[in-house]
């Protein structure tokens, strides 16, 4: 039997690397003593994230069936994600069905800000948790309209570390970096910028007052993720918002066609 995937074939799995550790198959690293319960080895070969991945796959199937374009917005706290979302859903509502899932440790404040625009929103409080997981997002969907052919925005917990590792079933992670933060964030938190396909440089209206170089931030992001796209915008003044909205409309159109 194949020891890698557990199937019955004697096929060869290709590896372009060498393992530098010993595979201790079948031999527990201790001596068996009389009177002790004998132990045995079982092969597992399972991803630690398998449970989350099952839920993420189920969410993704649901999005595909309904032609929903799902975006997972990630950033550090205070980058302006919620303000950006409020402006975004205000611009899109009436044109495309939109809904928002808000993730925060506590309070329903962000969901209230979205609902004030007339767009449906559901708040997930993670308590002590540092990220949203696919299971929680699946349940949040039960509280939102069907959103056929629409856009679902998932605003993750403000955290540039943990949400990088959790697939929620989204089409893309979009990372928001604001000009009041360091332009070297992509190098300091590479996993998140590697996981994201689009970077939004928010608070562009503050560029004249802060020492933030858009060119450097983009160069650092591409160092981590060569194909990452970047849009500079200001949720406050509206600068650059049309580019972001055009990106969303195009992606949502493709998701609708594919359904």
């Amino acid at each position: 039997m194949c020891g890698v995937c557990g199937c019955g074939d004697n096929h060869v799995h290709e590896h372009d690397h060498d393992h530098d550790h010993a595979h201790g198959h079948g031999h527990p690293e201790h001596a068996h003593a009389p009177g002790l319960t004998p132990t045995r080895m079982v092969q597992v070969e399972q991803d630690i994230m398998a449970a989350n991945q099952r839920y993420a796959d189920a969410n993704r199937r649901l999005f595909a069936q309904r032609g929903i374009f799902a975006v997972n917005l990630v950033s550090s706290p205070g980058s302006g994600k919620t303000s950006l979302l409020v402006k975004t859903v205000e611009a899109l509502k009436g044109e495309i069905p939109v809904a928002v899932i808000e993730g925060d440790q506590q309070t329903g404040l962000d969901a209230e800000r979205i609902k004030a625009t007339g767009v449906p929103a559901w708040q997930i409080n993670t308590g002590k948790g540092c990220h949203l997981d696919a299971h929680g997002v699946g349940h949040a969907l039960e509280h939102l309209p069907e959103l056929q052919g629409g856009i679902l925005f998932i605003e993750n917990v403000g955290n540039l570390v943990c949400p990088a590792g959790f697939d929620l079933g989204e089409a893309h992670k979009v990372v928001v970096l604001s000009t009041t933060e360091g332009e070297d964030k992509p190098l300091k938190y590479p996993d998140m910028f590697y996981a994201s396909d689009l970077m939004l440089l928010n608070k562009s209206d503050l560029l004249p007052y802060v020492d933030f170089s858009v060119e450097k931030a983009e160069a650092f992001a591409r160092q981590v993720h060569p194909s990452i796209k970047s849009i500079t915008l200001s949720a406050r003044t509206g600068e650059g918002m049309e580019t972001w909205l055009a990106w969303l409309r195009a992606a949502a159109a493709l998701a609708r066609i594919a359904a």
């Binding site: 690397h17 550790h21 132990t39 399972q46 994230m49 449970a51 190098l187 160092q223």
Partner: protein, 113 residues
């Protein structure tokens, strides 16, 4: 911090395996963690005994096999080893790299009874 959640997922996987492979106690767990995975092995070692308390894996040993990151360098047209995202090709310095391996977080095998 999310290593606590990963350890909870790990214990859930062990419970599912216990039902499928007919065992009641886990004595040792072997994990394979890639250098590019979003997990810190030391934090797993710290969290696992805490999360495992009161479960079938209470007191179980945890062995972590760390695997190097590997990528394809577009400039060199060759496979290269990398330690982290954002580090250039160790040969030519280019950042045009396609990750091939080193993102895994896998349960390899278990010692059980």
């Amino acid at each position: 911090m999310h290593e606590m959640a990963l350890c909870e997922g790990l214990v859930q996987s062990l419970e599912a395996q216990a039902a499928a492979q007919d065992f009641t106690k886990v004595h040792k767990v072997w994990l394979e963690i890639g250098a590019l995975a979003t997990v810190e092995p030391e934090a797993m070692r710290f969290n696992f005994p805490i999360v495992a308390q009161g479960t079938l894996a209470e007191g179980a040993g945890l062995e972590i096999l760390c695997v190097d990151g590997h990528a394809w360098c577009m400039q060199c047209s060759a496979p290269v080893a990398i330690k982290a995202h954002g580090e250039g090709c160790p040969v030519c310095g280019s950042f045009q790299l396609q990750v091939r391996d080193g993102q895994q977080m896998r349960i390899k095998q278990l010692e059980v009874s």
